[in-house]
């Protein structure tokens, strides 16, 4: 039997008393590529944020690599790719500097970066096709290239599990292809993937299983469902506002 990488048992999450996830249970085993699908507000992003410990469960348990999430400390085994680069700021940072953050889970806070770190950063940049942009400021990249930067950051830590939140939302076709290629070689090397998506696009052949979240419950767990209605159109593109669960900065107006 393949080892279980993620187990959620009867997970419940609520924001301000409003339930977002109600009694969700799922298991992801090593080597699987699982897509979490669902409409906006279905709770699919909340599900992976709860798995990563970014939002607290009000009931139920999360187990990561066989350890209860509360006691889990081997964060270097997980590579997280958020929906987009954080709010950012005026301080410039190069692509290589952002990707180098991916090494911290392995290296720790106190040890200065060494040759292995620089090599891993360079390899991750090659994997997503951004090697020639390493010294450019991240802010000068297109949205798709910024998304690839975040994937390179996760890959730089050489994780066993990649968790991606809507990696292809609003991303140009060239970046989607580069992204699918990077993901394919990660999976070929035995990696496990859990990704949230609105639709799969070029990722579709990679997905081994789909979980559909609907109104805070798991509505489907199994084969990848066929796209229906206007979602099936090849040029169908989703660009949508971000959910209310986003953290609010101290000085932001909301």
């Amino acid at each position: 039997m393949t080892p279980e990488v993620i187990t959620v048992a009867h997970g419940v999450v609520g924001y301000d008393g409003r339930p977002v996830l109600r009694d969700v249970s799922l298991t992801v085993t090593a080597g699987e590529v699982v897509a979490v699908l669902g409409a906006n507000g279905s709770g699919k992003s909340t599900l992976i944020r709860a798995i990563l410990g970014l939002v607290p469960l009000s009931a139920g348990t999360v187990t990561l690599f066989g350890e209860p999430a509360r006691r889990f400390r081997q964060w270097r085994r997980i590579g997280y790719v958020p929906q987009r680069l954080g709010a950012g700021s005026g301080v410039p940072a190069t692509v290589a500097e952002v990707v180098a953050s991916g090494r911290l889970a392995r290296r720790g806070v106190l040890r200065p970066p060494g040759r292995a770190d620089r090599e891993a950063v360079a390899a991750a940049l090659r994997a997503v096709g951004l090697a020639d942009r390493a010294k450019d400021p991240v802010a000068t990249l297109s949205g798709g290239q910024q998304q690839r930067t975040l994937i390179a950051r996760a890959l730089a830590g050489r994780p066993e599990l990649l968790v991606l939140d809507e990696p292809t939302a609003g991303v140009d076709a060239a970046s989607q292809e580069a992204f699918a290629g990077a993901l394919r070689s990660f999976v070929d090397d035995g990696g496990t993937v859990l990704l949230v998506a609105h639709e799969l696009g070029p990722l579709r052949p990679l997905i081994s299983r789909a979980i559909v979240v609907h109104q805070g419950l798991i509505a489907h767990d199994g084969v990848v469902p066929e796209p229906a209605g206007h979602h099936a159109a090849p040029d169908h593109d989703h660009v949508h506002p971000h959910g209310p669960e986003e953290p609010v900065g101290l000085w932001s107006s909301r």
Binding site: R73, G90, P112
Partner: protein
């Protein structure tokens, strides 16, 4: 120049340059966090410590360190909650800090000149002991901010990612808060409570006009801070102006000059016929540009 034959001027110069070098290394993280004015707020809180120190005739600087550290930790805990009510809580803390300071200074026997020294700085009164305090704390801030750059960068750049990387996010945030309090308190001697943020933030704002990466921004901001502090004290000595304010005026003048030069440089580069091939081809070709 002859002013620098006096020991107090030399001490003022050295103290200012240490602060000018150290303050931007912290300030860059605050700017990245969009908390550029936090130093100002913590400065207000430090003033209550100064007032308490003058009233109880203990060291105002040590009391200021204590008050500023407590204030910084409270602000960080409010920030962590990240709700809009934090806004009001911050305002209460800041104005409470400065009002408390003024009341306490008034209750003590100190003169208003004494209060002014803390509000606007009193570099030329830097004693040998003060200089030792500035040097020790300044170097500690400098080393911490440079040695922990990868981790602090990660936390300030993307806090959630840092959390999923297993970094001690809360400890690093509190470290930044406490370092801010310490920097504010030592910079209080140089530029005063009301101008502290300038030394932390303005060199960073200037540097990022022309730099491409975080590391180069930090290095350029340190050089600019060092220059503004050194040249500011020299200018104050020559023109007989207030040293703290002169340092800040020079820092802001460099910001204006660099911003203008950078704009001119970008314009020149744009008018030249494409010096290097751009990495991405243009999607459309517009005539005449």
């Amino acid at each position: 120049m002859s002013l620098f034959q006096y020991e107090f001027m030399v001490r003022a110069l050295i103290g200012a340059m240490i602060i000018g070098l150290a303050a931007p290394t912290l300030g860059i993280y605050l700017v990245q966090r969009r908390l550029a004015l936090i130093g100002d707020g913590i400065g207000h809180v430090a003033l209550t410590g100064v007032g308490a120190g003058l009233l109880f005739q203990t060291s105002p600087v040590i009391m200021a360190v204590i008050a500023a550290t407590l204030g910084a930790i409270v602000i960080e805990l409010i920030r962590e909650r990240g709700r809009t009510s934090g806004d009001l809580a911050l305002a209460l803390l800041f104005y409470g800090g400065i009002a408390g300071g003024v009341v306490l200074v008034g209750l003590s026997d100190s003169t208003s000149a004494n209060l002014n020294a803390y509000l606007f700085g009193a570099l030329t009164t830097t004693s040998r002991n003060d200089l030792v305090t500035i040097a020790v704390l300044g170097v500690a801030v400098l080393i911490t901010m440079i040695a922990l750059r990868p981790a602090l960068f990660a936390v300030c750049h993307d806090e959630e990612y840092a959390r999923v990387s297993g970094l001690p996010v809360r400890a690093l945030n509190l470290l930044l808060a406490v370092t801010t309090a310490i920097t504010v308190t030592i910079a209080m001697r140089a530029v005063g409570v009301l101008l502290i943020s300038a030394l932390m933030v303005v060199p960073v704002a200037t540097a990022q006009q022309v730099t491409r990466g975080f590391r180069s921004t930090m290095a350029a901001a340190m050089a600019l801070g060092l220059f503004a502090a050194g040249a500011g004290v020299w200018l104050a000595a020559v023109a007989d102006t207030a040293p703290g304010a002169s340092v800040v005026v020079l820092a802001i003048a460099s910001f204006v000059v660099v911003t203008l030069l950078a704009a001119v440089w970008r314009r020149i580069r744009r008018s030249r016929p494409e010096p290097t091939p751009t990495p991405e081809p243009h999607e459309v070709v517009l005539g005449g540009s």
